[in-house]
């Protein structure tokens, strides 16, 4: 199974090799050593392989991912797993801003904390953060789920569309048009499934979470709501 030293062999060559992988490749497990905070590591993957990155990464690690399972044994910079379509990205450390931004599918799990704008404009991804998330998270989030075991910062879910937000801890404040909603059985089931996918089934009680979603009052521009914009 390939072991790649990014420091000596460079980013372009790594990504080129990863992009060349076919769905039936035998090289299904890659290890990337010495990432040194480089940007766009393993961005644009499109094959069912596992890439383990042994260290901290810069911006857009696993950006636009399809199918691949990317594990970051460290922390990640801005936009980890941005615009992911499918696959699984697991960050063992913390992540910076805009984690999972605009992603359409797949799952992003962060063991540590996430910075501001986590899940901004998300379009179907499931994001699970074991720590806390920063301000303006789930801004204009369209679809998918954002599950937070810790706390959420200011203006959670501002201008939210149809994404569902589950937060176990406190929420500093809700953004425009984001409200707390009732946790019904279907939501507990959905949350349980997400916890399970992140390997937390039985460890974390879905009953401890509150659900937040869109009040849908901004779905059609109306003069009486002008103050909310």
């Amino acid at each position: 199974m390939p072991v790649y030293d990014l420091r000596s062999a460079g980013l372009r060559d790594l990504n080129r090799q990863l992009h060349a992988l076919r769905p039936d490749t035998n090289e299904t497990h890659w290890t990337v050593q010495n990432p040194d905070g480089a940007h766009a590591i393993a961005a644009g993957l499109d094959a069912p392989v596992t890439v383990e990155i042994e260290g901290n990464v810069g911006y857009y690690c696993a950006g636009m991912n399809k199918l691949a399972n990317v594990v970051i044994h460290g922390s990640a910079g801005t936009g980890v797993a941005e615009n992911m379509m499918s696959g699984f990205v697991h960050v063992k450390g913390d992540v910076s801003q805009s984690a999972g931004a605009t992603s359409h599918g797949g799952m992003l799990v962060v063991d540590g904390n996430a910075g501001a704008r986590c899940g901004i404009s998300m379009k179907g991804i499931d994001i699970l953060v074991k720590g806390s998330i920063g301000h303006m998270s789930a801004f204009m989030a369209q679809a998918g789920t954002l599950t937070v075991l810790g706390d959420a910062g200011e203006a959670l879910g501002d201008s939210l569309y149809e994404a569902r937000l589950y937060v176990r801890g406190s929420v500093k404040s809700l953004g425009a048009d984001c409200i707390e909603k009732e946790m019904r059985d279907e939501h507990r089931e959905q949350l349980y499934a997400k916890l399970k996918a992140a390997g937390l089934a039985g460890e974390v009680d879905p009953g401890e979470f509150r659900r937040y979603g869109s009040a849908r009052t901004l779905y059609h521009f109306h003069v009486d709501n002008a103050g909310a914009y």
Partner: protein, 444 residues
């Protein structure tokens, strides 16, 4: 009394400040409580390309023979870093216009017309449709703040990528597509519920500032194997700095859109009061590239109110490499055609003034998602009309270039131009006609 009645009276006098149009807008605002939203670009009179003239050949410069001596028009875009730069037969490209704002037939027609003419067309907010990809030989994929429909497969399918920072009609503004136009298909592509007013963000979600832009461009290049040219599109506001920063961030091509540039739907106040006229933006952008030693290495595409081959020639003479057209292309397809006058009247407007594109009721079947109205636009015929229009513009530009003695459109230069007004002379940095005065540059 009788004598008084016969005395001359003051004629009714409209205010130059509170014009009938201004007053009707005040009444509309008072009645509805909502600002006016519309399509198209700035409608007010602005210093523009009509304020420039070419000098033509004379004793000191000799012209090229009309039909016999070659005047080339081809252009290469993206030669700086991309492994596969774009080769076009004409420097007139089709600007990004979203599927959603335009019907699928209109998008297909744009692809067909551009392909016949040997030029590129561009996606828009909302993603790439198969019709559009299929009918466009060269397709530029827009990468916008909303990332609606953004898909790495489409990124790889594209021939170039355009990172959109802003648009001339609304520099600093996001997009909007009102619920009337959000059909199931449009909604599905954007991952939104059908019928909901859709707002597009005005800032990118995962980067801020020029240093981040450089990293983002790096990611786009990595994902597409450094093959595709990367454009950066900005609305004209600080063209010197925006062009310099885009080039520094690694763009292959800068697209600069002036305030006459069209939009699908924006607040009228934004369209008319924010940004620079196209004419005022070109020289600073060219200067930025020159100062970096990148003029002609990073290509400059200019758009916003370009209508004819004369406009094209003027833009190129001021130092751009190519132009993009939106509104002109839509008119060529059939937008605002007087043949639909009865229906325009029924919508409370008239052919030539129709700009309620956001309402989705376009009688010409272009800015609509209504299946019945859409059918009125035959994509093949409309594509042919667009190709004809592009051919005419190219011929016109060549005619002017030959008259100025140029064997390639890119050989046109500011020295070929004079201005009719002091404003245009200052903005284009060419002399006022009949003088050697370039306001702001030389003494009287």
């Amino acid at each position: 009394m009788a004598e008084n009645a016969k005395a001359p009276r003051t004629a009714p006098r409209y205010s130059a400040t509170f014009t009938p149009e201004v007053m009707s807008e005040i009444r509309r605002a008072a009645a509805t409580g909502i600002y006016d939203i519309r399509g198209a670009g700035a409608k007010r009179k602005l210093p523009h390309f009509d304020d420039l003239l070419f000098l033509g050949a004379s004793i000191s410069r000799y012209p090229l023979e009309g039909y016999r001596e070659r005047c080339s028009t081809e252009v290469i875009l993206g030669s700086r870093f991309a492994k596969k730069p774009i080769h076009l037969k004409t420097p007139i490209t089709i600007a990004g216009m979203s599927f959603g704002s335009l019907s699928a037939n209109a998008k297909e027609a744009l692809g067909r017309g551009a392909t016949i003419a040997g030029t590129s067309t561009t996606t828009g907010d909302g993603g790439m449709t198969p019709e559009e990809r299929g009918h466009s030989k060269t397709l530029v994929y827009q990468y916008l703040p909303s990332r609606y429909g953004m898909n790495p497969d489409d990124l790889r399918r594209a021939d170039a990528i355009e990172v959109v920072i802003g648009q001339g009609a609304k520099p600093g503004g996001g997009g909007m597509l009102l619920g009337q136009k959000i059909t199931e298909r449009v909604a599905g592509m954007r991952c939104l519920p059908a019928g909901v007013d859709q707002r597009s963000a005005c800032r990118h979600p995962d980067w801020t500032g020029p240093d981040d832009l450089e990293i983002k461009i790096g990611e786009l290049r990595e994902v597409t194997e450094w093959e595709k040219p990367i454009y950066v599109k900005v609305g004209a506001s600080r063209p010197y700095y925006d062009t310099a920063l885009a080039a520094k961030a690694g763009a292959d091509v800068v697209v600069l859109d002036g305030m006459q540039g069209g939009t699908a739907a924006t607040q009228d106040v934004f369209i008319e009061h924010v940004g620079l006229p196209t004419l005022a933006a070109i020289r600073p952008a060219v200067q930025a590239l020159r100062d970096l030693g990148l003029h002609r290495k990073v290509q400059l595409i200019v758009s916003g109110g370009i209508r004819s081959g004369a406009d094209v020639a003027k833009v190129l003479a001021l130092g751009a490499d190519a132009v993009a057209i939106g509104t002109g292309a839509l008119i060529a397809l059939g937008d605002n055609d007087p043949r639909w006058e009865d229906e325009y009247q029924a919508l409370g407007t008239t052919a030539g003034a129709y700009d309620d594109w956001h309402e989705g009721k376009d009688p010409a079947g272009i800015t609509t998602q209504d299946p019945e109205l859409m059918k009125r636009l035959d994509p093949e015929l409309a594509g042919r009309r667009l190709a004809n229009y592009l051919a005419v513009m190219t011929l016109e530009a060549q005619t002017i270039a030959r008259a100025c003695g140029k064997s390639h459109l890119h050989n046109l230069e500011p020295e070929d131009l004079v201005a009719l007004t002091i404003e245009a002379a200052a903005m284009a940095q060419v002399p006022l006609a009949g003088t050697s005065w370039v306001p702001g540059q030389t003494g009287l």
